[in-house]
Symmetry: C2
Subunit: 350 residues, 2 copies
């Protein structure tokens, strides 16, 4: 049986490691809280698992360990911030609070952020606003990253360009969290590290041939990750990718035009208040009707039931609350190594 841990112990571990690693305490507090919430959601790739990745970034200055973000533009319902490469969880917590407050007064608010550091699991963020009755959309790109070719092309040009939408429903929030490419950079690395091939042709080699081989990203000419829709209808994923880069880079006024070489997150956040449209109760009634029709669908072969995005997260949160949080062995191996290096003791399981 997998060991389970209390959320307080896991958060204390993350906080201790991040502060010992050099991150200012008030920022480490926010990062540790959101990483723990991410593990509670069951997205263990983006929870405490990130600490061993953040520590060298803090040490090298890739992630700024202290300082303030800069308000570039503030028009009330629209804003641009410069994140100065500060921790993304800390920036996004303020971004959400500000956008919710502004959506409360204007009905809608949007914020484009340049030069954030890693913002973690998007569902953890959209969930904060969705649980408070807002519609929240977040999309993010890295103007220094090139992993996806435009549809019809062969050269790495775009990032996978994640986008997420969280919104209220009768039971628990709907949490959509996806991206414009078929798979992600971290999945590609995972498959390369474990020597595996993808089950389907999710990659494009440097000559423009679809392949299941993740190692094409290390070949010359470099291969790429196929956009959503693949060889068949990849113009649809390409359209999503262009949209995400426009929202996060063009609106924030910082991106590929600067030929950025430092890894960074550009983010577009939008929050809407259903009360400023037809009302929150009618909103939930429509969402619930569609969700019920989806869940009642006769499953296709190979599926046990139709799920709404967010269903699994809601079940995981409930289980985390009652039984504690479980992390995969692979995560503990890396976290343990980092903790030992810092002289931080690991917590006892429940």
């Amino acid at each position: 049986m997998t060991d389970r841990y209390s959320r307080d112990d896991l958060k204390a571990l993350a906080l201790d490691m991040l502060t010992k690693g050099g991150l200012a305490a008030e920022k480490a507090e926010v990062v540790a809280e959101l990483l723990t919430r991410t593990d509670e959601l069951g997205v263990t790739t983006h929870g405490l698992s990130m600490v061993p990745y953040y520590l060298p970034e803090i040490a090298s200055g890739g992630m700024s360990s202290e300082g303030e973000l800069e308000v570039v533009t503030d028009k009330g319902a629209t804003m641009v911030w410069d994140g100065n490469y500060l921790p993304g969880h800390w920036i996004m917590t303020q971004a959400l609070e500000t956008c919710m407050e502004r959506a409360g007064s204007h009905g809608i608010a949007a914020l484009a952020i340049r030069r954030s550091h890693h913002i973690g699991c998007l569902s953890t963020l959209t969930r904060i606003a969705a649980e408070r009755g807002f519609v929240c959309m977040i999309s993010t790109s890295d103007p220094s990253g090139r992993w996806v070719a435009p549809y019809g092309g062969t050269e790495p040009t775009l990032t996978p360009n994640p986008w997420a939408v969280g919104y209220p429903a009768g039971d628990h929030p709907v949490l959509i969290d996806t991206c414009a490419s078929i798979t992600t950079v971290s999945k590609v690395r995972e498959y390369i590290n474990s020597g595996r091939q993808f089950d389907h042709p999710w990659m494009l080699d440097g000559e423009g041939n679809a392949t299941t081989d993740p190692t094409v990203v290390n070949a010359d000419p470099r291969g790429t990750i196929l956009p959503v829709g693949g060889m068949d209808h990849g113009h649809k994923g390409y359209a999503m990718g262009l949209t995400v880069e426009m929202l996060s880079q063009a609106l924030s006024g910082h991106g590929r035009a600067e030929e950025v070489t430092r890894w960074g997150g550009n983010v577009f956040v939008q929050v809407m208040d259903p009360e400023a449209f037809a009302g929150l109760d009618p909103f939930k009634a429509q969402v619930d009707a569609l969700n019920a029709a989806c869940r009642a669908n006769r499953p296709a072969p190979g599926f046990d039931q139709v799920r709404i995005p967010g269903d699994r997260a809601a079940a995981m949160v409930e289980r985390s609350r009652t039984e504690g949080i479980a992390l995969p062995d692979e995560v503990w191996t890396r976290v343990r190594a980092s903790a030992e290096e810092l002289g931080v003791a690991l917590p006892e399981p429940l």
Copy 2:
């Protein structure tokens, strides 16, 4: 050589047919103008081609031929309108003017519309705002329609859920116009009518097996159109479909909860002013840098070049301006039949 016609003659033909068909003159004027612009863009499936479909809708009252739209909610930057099934082009023209004006003062504006009639080609609409320097996003669903199963399910539940984004660039606007399913209802009908199969498995039969056969939508149990991503990663198209229905139905407070049976368009329109973010010139600089990197890509086998959505439309508009507008024979056959029925003369080609 295909005959070409002047835009004035084609618009006059559409206007004459629509008014003789019973549509109030000031509404027919707007519909005729936008249908002609759609043909100028080269989207001849959604231009004058629609008139023979609209005429019986006007006659039956499915499309309201006169009357006003109702403002349900107006909070300045957010609005809900009830379109009373009036012509979609006429509603959307007002929607865009209102949203551009509001985005001018608030930086951002969003409008959810219930019970519009058909709004036509989304690119024709987003282009209006993009040419005036705005970012414009439109998505639309029909709460009475069921064509797409949720990912993992087998029963028709969602509409194809088109979404479009138009935004300024240095040369001409980027015009993204796509949907959450691999193909559209009109393509399915076209393939059924011509007895063709799709090249790839874009459909799902009623048992949940992927197929190239469009006639599964007429079988029992009814088949469906696969979401973007298909059997492989259709959860991504499903996510887009849920998002479009949330924006257009839940925010407008009208949708599947009412068990609507009358065909109608729910629409979500959002307009943003780049000047209320980092500015229009920096916006275009970022868009142009990414577009240039895409267009400069070495083409994949089977492609002559990488295109940005909107490139073909820009070339078609230029050609329409200098040489006139060409319509496919199939469109003329149907338009001619409707025109003769109404006693309207066809124009002479240029």
